[in-house]
């Protein structure tokens, strides 16, 4: 059992949760994730480590309620527990002094990009962050991002805050302004990562994305998390999750992530129904 130390909604449906996990807190590096099993009958779901406090022995995750497992996790409060937390998993982000690095986060992807943005800054880069959300109330980590950025931009699809448009439009604007960009990190929904890859491809800007295939063990045993990169099979939980955006087969990833759509809907509806019965939400 792993104890939740604090839990706080950052936006509707997006919760920041701090969990006791001393070994992981001590070891984790930017770009790595944990697998969490909320309860004894739960699935193992991957979640990026957004931050840690080695002294306190805690890690922080930022979770978007998508289906049963993430909604159940987001119903937890300080003092509650989850059954299992294992990590840190995945290869750490490759950090070097690239020069000017742009970190792009879309939706909850902002949370996943945040630790790497911090590491890029510590690595001596000029860091530009672009964080996109559908609308103003879904913007997360604005202050944190500002604090690690040399330039920070917010974009909203509906124009309710910051730049009106997509993160890719902002990126294109930066490129067009004549800025030399040496490195781009993009994390968010698959269509967004794919669009970023297409923006940077003609300029040959090194672009890295963090992929989110469905995982089971997360330790390199099952082969379920395989993705196609440069027409080769790679395993996101041990070879990734970060890969060269220009070599990733995004279409295949987005197809494969739909495999359990029917079952996911069934679980999620059953859970919401149960919660209504017991009035826990």
């Amino acid at each position: 059992m792993y104890k939740i130390v604090s839990a706080l909604f950052l936006a509707e449906n997006i919760k920041k949760i701090e969990i006791e996990a001393p070994r992981i807190a001590k070891k984790r590096k930017a770009g790595q994730f944990v697998m969490i099993r909320v309860g004894e009958s739960g699935e193992r779901i991957p979640l990026t480590i957004a931050g840690s406090d080695p002294e306190k022995g805690t890690i922080t995750i930022i979770v978007q309620g998508m289906g049963k497992s993430t909604k159940e996790l987001n119903s937890k409060e300080a003092g509650d527990t989850v059954s299992d937390v294992v990590g840190p998993l995945g290869a750490a982000s490759h950090i070097e002094k690239f020069g000017t690095a742009v970190s792009i986060g879309g939706g909850v992807g902002t949370a996943i990009a945040y630790p790497t943005a911090v590491a890029l800054k510590e690595g001596g880069n000029y860091v530009i962050t672009i964080n996109g959300a559908r609308s103003k109330d879904l913007v997360i980590l604005e202050q944190e991002m500002k604090a690690v950025s040399d330039e920070a931009y917010i974009t909203t699809d509906d124009g309710s805050y910051g730049f009106h448009g997509f993160v890719t439009q902002k990126l294109q604007e930066l490129i067009d302004s004549g800025k030399t960009i040496d490195y781009v990190l993009a994390i968010g929904p698959i269509p967004m990562m794919r669009a970023v890859a297409e923006v940077t491809r003609p300029y040959k800007i090194k672009t890295v994305v963090s992929l989110n295939p469905i995982m089971v063990d997360g330790t390199g045993m099952c082969g379920g998390c395989r993705v196609s990169v440069d027409n080769q099979i790679k395993f996101a939980c041990v070879d990734g999750p970060e890969f060269d955006a220009h070599l990733v087969d995004f279409k295949n990833l987005s197809d494969r992530n739909k495999i359990y759509q029917t079952e996911e809907k069934q679980s999620s509806e059953a859970w919401v129904h149960e919660c209504k019965l017991f009035k826990t939400v």
Binding site: K27, R37, R44
Partner: protein, 479 residues
């Protein structure tokens, strides 16, 4: 007839006792164990068949040299608990090995009776004695030597790790087992299905180790949560045993392998066994809905048979084994092959897939296969399958499960570069001690041999435990 007054002729006249089993038409609808076990009467009958050879050659066929003649004699005399104890002198997991050892290639192959009659059912008897002991609640904990003050870390809780931990704790060393998953037991829990090896048995064996004082830490991934060097330098362990098993599954590298509905056997079995997705939605982890579908498993080993029989139990209309050689070359246990045949598994032998075919939504709809014939023997001594030209055809399937073996898990190699690995990334050891190239680090099981067997992994764990003890206590420890 009793054990004292029976002639060899009378012994030889007793037919091999068949172990009662669930009928095929019943068991394909449940995940309960296929075999029901011997009754005491059946066990005694079977034990009486053993002619108690002066030179019991069966023992040479057992990788851990169980005193087979002696324990069988005890069963024949009705001393079931004594038999269990005798077996446990050499094998800590008899209820498991009795069920899953490929006996026809090991102990039973060597049994003298095999030449003219059927061999003694050594595995069945071993299982009986162990089950009897456990079910009657009379398991006696072995004695543990006084504390040596030494600490050993075991990485991985599969059969190699468990047997190593068992021997070390009895020798008086403090043992902590670090396991990556949330459950203990390795392939015994996530690979081999419930209908072949009930998980309560694995749990009971592990419970026994806990009572002896072995500490277990789940959710601890060596190389990630903690490295071998940290265990040795920071956490004060005097030695480390690495028993992390085989690693990532191999794929075939043919077109269409990333279509929806194409699984590795590891993923399919892990979802069903470890994550219990056969109880979806009561358990949250889903798996491909096999009901009424056509499922093909590619491969011919134990894993392939476990996968295909699991798919059948999940409701598959047609469950095929597609194997590129013939039945004689299948590496699976013979008994499982027979069980599968009775369960209506369809064997497509001498066929090889060349391409998976999908629809517009990328769901698998079929597999293009080519027929094969057997040519000259290859390196493994088995006749090499060669494609027959122009013999391609399409088999309509909704799900494919690839079961052609595993590579090695890369985590230890990536994080402990001073442990020497082979070209296949298996860990290189001295087979007499299981010592790796790194001081005080030992390894055994599938990570050394590549995918092998439970009993070989256990044997390796024991060899390592003996060598570790030797190393820790110096040469004068047994004087």
């Amino acid at each position: 007839m009793d054990a004292q007054h029976i002639t060899t002729k009378e012994r030889l006249a007793i037919p091999r006792q068949v172990m009662p089993a669930q009928p095929p038409e019943v068991r394909i609808y449940n995940f309960n164990e296929v075999h029901l076990g011997y009754t005491p009467e059946l066990a005694i009958q079977e034990a009486l068949r053993c002619i108690q050879c002066k030179d019991p050659v069966c023992i040479k066929g057992c990788p851990v040299n169980i005193k087979i003649d002696q324990f069988i004699k005890m069963i024949a005399e009705g001393n079931f608990l004594g038999a269990a104890k005798k077996i446990k002198e050499d094998n800590v997991l008899p209820a498991i090995c009795g069920r899953v050892c490929p006996q026809e290639d090991q102990c039973e192959k060597m049994c003298i009776l095999t030449k003219k009659h059927e061999s003694v059912a050594i595995g069945n008897l071993e299982r009986f004695a162990a089950d009897y002991e456990r079910e009657t609640g009379k398991v006696e904990l072995p004695s543990v030597k006084p504390s040596s003050g030494k600490k050993v870390a075991v990485i991985g809780s599969g059969p190699a790790g468990l047997s190593c931990a068992n021997d070390l704790i009895q020798l008086g060393h403090a043992v902590t087992v670090f396991e990556a998953l949330h459950e203990l037991g390795g392939v015994l829990v996530y690979g081999i299905p419930e209908f072949r090896l009930p998980k309560t048995i694995v749990k009971a064996e592990i419970e026994g180790l806990k009572q002896l004082g072995v500490k277990f830490v789940t959710n601890a991934v060596a190389g990630r949560s903690i490295t071998v060097d940290e265990l040795l330098k920071e956490e004060g362990f005097d030695a480390v045993f690495v028993g992390v098993g085989a690693g990532l599954p191999w794929f075939m590298g043919i077109p269409g392998e990333n279509l929806l509905g194409v699984y590795s056997a590891n993923e399919f079995l892990t979802r069903v066994n470890l994550m219990k997705s056969y109880q979806f939605p009561d358990n949250d982890t889903p798996v491909f809905n096999c009901k009424g579908k056509n499922v093909a498993v590619f491969g011919g080993g134990n894993t392939a048979l476990d996968a295909v029989r699991t798919a059948k139990r999940l409701g598959a209309e047609h469950a095929y084994i597609v194997y590129r050689r013939s039945e004689a070359e299948m590496p699976a246990r013979l008994e499982e092959l027979h069980h599968a045949q009775k369960e209506g598994i369809e064997f497509m032998l001498l066929m090889n897939p060349v391409e998976f075919i999908g629809n517009d939504e990328q769901w698998l709809t079929g597999v293009r296969c080519i027929r094969m014939e057997l040519g000259e023997p290859d390196d493994s001594g088995r006749r090499r399958p060669v494609p027959i030209p122009d013999s391609e055809f399409i088999l309509p399937i909704d799900m494919a499960i690839i079961s052609i073996g595993n590579g090695s898990n890369p985590l230890i190699k990536q994080t402990t570069p001073d442990i020497e690995v082979s070209k296949r990334d298996t860990i290189v050891v001295d087979i007499n001690t299981m010592a790796t190239s790194k001081d005080n680090v030992y390894a055994g099981g599938d990570i050394v041999t590549g995918g092998a067997t439970v009993i070989l992994a256990m044997g390796a764990g024991r060899t390592a435990a003996a060598a570790i003890n030797e190393k820790l206590m110096g040469s004068d420890h047994d004087r």
